[in-house]
């Protein structure tokens, strides 16, 4: 008999006023009994709408059924059939707009907590290693390269390795993981978990070459010359955008990429870290996406008393996940909505001392269907802050585009790739933010997965 409770089992979390001073994980995860109880809410519908909502087609009702039966390791194995990073997806996927949005239980009440169950199964498996050696697939004798060790690249590498390819991943940073390591903060995605997923790939035979800049150290054509038969480019989002308002050159103005990289990858949150960072008392974050929420919540944890999210539309239009907004509010982040930054103000030492904002109201809907924010004539305010973090997206990195003849890019500079990741250059496939512009981890993973299948087909047909 299914559990007919209309609401999800709540997930235990650190108290907001405790966690906003530490970098430990916010959400603590289900215990076994709660996981089984939540799994029993799944009706195991025949038409499985949830699976269609997952960019990597996790067989959701199947793994949930295994949790119901207490077969937690088997549940994890089921997820791993299609997803190479379950512990990551269970934490950072926007389930509310994907699998859970299709759940039949969501029609009258809350959907099944698919994300929390996925996380449970993955964490359980990590905590209970079987000790069995990782199965290394038999080699098919073909050599492929993956550029970038972020979510798209890791997924693509994992799928290709499973098919027997000799996969080498080239990464510019000193650590593999991409945005999972440098961007998403420890309190939302512990780095030890990402490292375990990477170690699993290594055990399966995937090779990682760190400190290697494709486009500089070697080009795409150099890699072909070295015998790689197909190359996947998942080089990520690229250079941060700025507002182009006066005063962005003052000291204390960070891009979210820089701020998060200093805090996460370079461990500025640890007292003994060599990485310098400005410890601000009051911070304004420009933007309303997940990256803005991460930056704001990091700034709070780094000791800022007041942290503002400054966003030009209203709460309904915030691009961040509802859960991130909710967590940010709980932690005391102040939302300045319908407010557009028009100038960064500086003191005599050229350090940020405030932000002038233009108050806005919602007008007629624009092309995106969202109501367009319009300035309220003469209505401006000044926020008293000593640091600004700009989180309004990124523009593509030029390194590969400018060094790869025959690779088409669009007006914005993103690599042009079809549904399966094929680009204009034979043998080169691409996916993730470098194709779409800044998007989510799971969409990048989906692109990496499709490209892996297309690369396999490309190489098999070439014979």
């Amino acid at each position: 008999m299914a559990n007919m409770s209309p609401v999800k089992n709540p997930i235990p979390e650190q108290d907001p006023n405790v966690r906003n001073k530490n970098f430990l994980e916010v959400s603590l995860g289900y215990d076994e009994a709660t996981a089984v109880n939540e799994a029993e809410r799944c009706l195991n519908c025949k038409h499985r709408p949830c699976v269609g909502g997952c960019p990597v087609n996790v067989q959701i009702p199947d793994f949930i059924s295994l949790i119901k039966e207490g077969k937690f390791l088997e549940a994890n194995a089921k997820i791993k059939e299609t997803s190479s990073l379950p512990a990551v997806c269970g934490r950072v996927c926007p389930q509310e707009s994907q699998c859970e949005s299709k759940c039949v239980r969501g029609i009258k009440g809350e959907p099944v907590a698919i994300g929390r169950l996925e996380r449970f199964a993955a964490d359980y498996a990590m905590a209970h290693p079987t000790g069995d050696p990782v199965e290394v697939p038999e080699s098919n004798g073909h050599k492929v390269a993956v550029v970038g060790a972020g979510p798209a690249g890791l997924t693509c590498a994992g799928d290709l390795a499973a098919k027997g390819y000799d996969v080498t991943v080239f990464e510019v940073l000193h650590t593999a993981g991409g945005v999972l390591m440098y961007g998403i903060p420890e309190f939302r995605l512990p780095k030890a978990i990402v490292q375990k997923e990477i170690d699993t790939l290594k055990a399966k035979g995937v090779k990682f070459v760190l400190n290697f800049v494709v486009g500089r150290t070697e080009t795409i054509d150099d890699l072909f010359a070295e015998g790689y038969e197909a190359i996947f480019v998942g080089s990520g989002a690229g250079l941060p955008n700025f507002m182009r308002v006066p005063g962005e050159g003052y000291n204390g103005v960070y891009s979210a990429n820089e701020y998060l990289t200093r805090v996460n990858l370079m461990k500025a949150y640890k007292e003994d870290s060599d990485t310098p960072i400005y410890h601000a008392k009051k911070v304004a974050v420009f933007g309303g996406g997940n990256v803005a929420m991460d930056a704001a919540r990091c700034a709070k944890r780094m000791g800022a008393e007041d942290v503002y999210i400054v966003y030009r539309r209203s709460e309904a239009e915030l691009p961040a996940r509802a859960e991130e907004v909710h967590h940010a509010k709980e932690e005391g982040i102040i939302f300045k909505l319908l407010a557009a930054p028009i100038e960064v103000l500086g003191d005599e030492d050229f350090h940020v001392k405030g932000v002038r904002i233009q108050n806005m109201e919602l007008g007629e809907p624009d092309e995106s269907g969202r109501r367009r924010p319009v300035p309220i004539e003469g209505s401006t305010d000044v926020l008293d802050v000593d640091a600004v973090i700009v989180a309004i997206g990124t523009s593509p990195n030029p390194l590969i585009r400018t060094t790869t003849p025959g690779l088409d890019t669009n007006r914005k500079g993103c690599i042009v790739a079809d549904e399966d990741g094929a680009t204009s250059k034979p043998g080169v496939f691409a996916g993730g933010d470098t194709v779409t512009g800044a998007a989510t981890v799971i969409l990048a993973m989906g692109a990496g997965k499709k490209a892996a299948a297309a690369m396999d087909e490309y190489i098999q047909n070439k014979k």
Binding site: F212, V213, P240, P276
Partner: protein, 280 residues
């Protein structure tokens, strides 16, 4: 791991290190830089490539021991390994097609200026190399600079080598004497590059500067290296490091470069205290 094959002390606080880094050496060109980390917990620091040897697979860097990381680097010995070493980064300097050039180096910048002079010289360009140092004790690589230039002018701030004055004093003098340079290349502290650019501006001489900004990743991700050039935001790591000196907003760049001064001082003091403890 990237082994230190050779270490040579150039002055009391400047060392030259030859690093085993075949991948970097394969493609390195004058003007490009690398990023290194000394150990697994270290910060990433950018350093301009001084020399490279494709056959031996080595990169030469010259380090001034001024911060926590560079002090650690200075203490490393031949045979020790660096944890990370990535490059070559940035766009290579354009050195072809010039007949007459002035290369201006300031302090440590001379370690990067002289290979540029050397390359120009090899390409058949007549090169005046103007090198500036605080005093005689700080002078580095004098023989190498002499070999790489048509005329070498070594200036000291205090005149202790008999040539008192800044590099701009000599540059001004040469320009006023009617030297017609196709290009002036300035490499050194930002303040020096700013004044070199101001010196050449009235003469309308093309002036290229190498912007050594703060960086984290150095590959076009963090945006920490941004600067304003001709009113536009540019990124030293992927758009540079070479820029038109007459277009760079040096005042902003210098302020941005100084943002972590207090923390660097604290880290340095911490490091120095640790060294004292080791001595005990």
């Amino acid at each position: 791991m990237y082994q230190i094959l050779k270490k040579r002390r150039l002055s009391s606080n400047v060392v030259l290190l030859v690093i085993d880094a075949p991948y970097v050496a394969k493609k390195a060109e004058p003007g490009q830089f690398i990023i290194l980390r000394v150990d697994a917990e270290g910060e990433r620091i950018p350093l301009t490539i001084s020399e490279y040897d494709r056959e031996k697979g080595t990169i030469t860097i010259v380090v001034q021991e001024v911060g926590a990381t560079t002090i650690k680097l200075g203490q490393m010995e031949e045979g020790d390994c660096l944890h990370d070493f990535v490059g070559p980064l940035g766009i290579a300097s354009e050195l072809e097609g010039y007949k007459r050039a002035a290369v201006v180096g300031g302090g440590l910048g001379c370690a990067i200026a002289y290979p540029q002079a050397k390359k120009l010289h090899e390409l058949g360009c007549k090169v005046d190399l103007i090198a500036g140092f605080k005093n005689t004790d700080a002078i580095i690589l004098e023989d190498e600079m002499r070999a790489a230039s048509t005329n070498l002018y070594v200036m000291t701030d205090d005149g202790s080598n008999g040539n008192k004055g800044f590099v701009t004093t000599k540059l001004q003098e040469l320009l006023e004497a009617g030297e017609k340079y196709d290009v002036v290349i300035a490499i050194g502290p930002m303040i020096m590059m700013k004044f070199v650019s101001e010196t050449t501006r009235p003469f309308g001489v093309k002036t290229i500067v190498s912007m050594n900004t703060i960086m984290v990743d150095g590959t076009g991700m963090c945006g920490g290296c941004r600067l304003t050039v001709g009113g536009e935001t540019k990124f030293a790591c992927v758009d540079g490091p070479d820029f038109d000196g007459h277009q760079v907003d040096f005042d902003e760049a210098m302020r941005r470069a100084a943002i972590y001064k207090p923390q660097e001082q604290a880290a340095r003091d911490h490091q120095c205290n640790l060294m004292k403890m080791e001595v005990k």
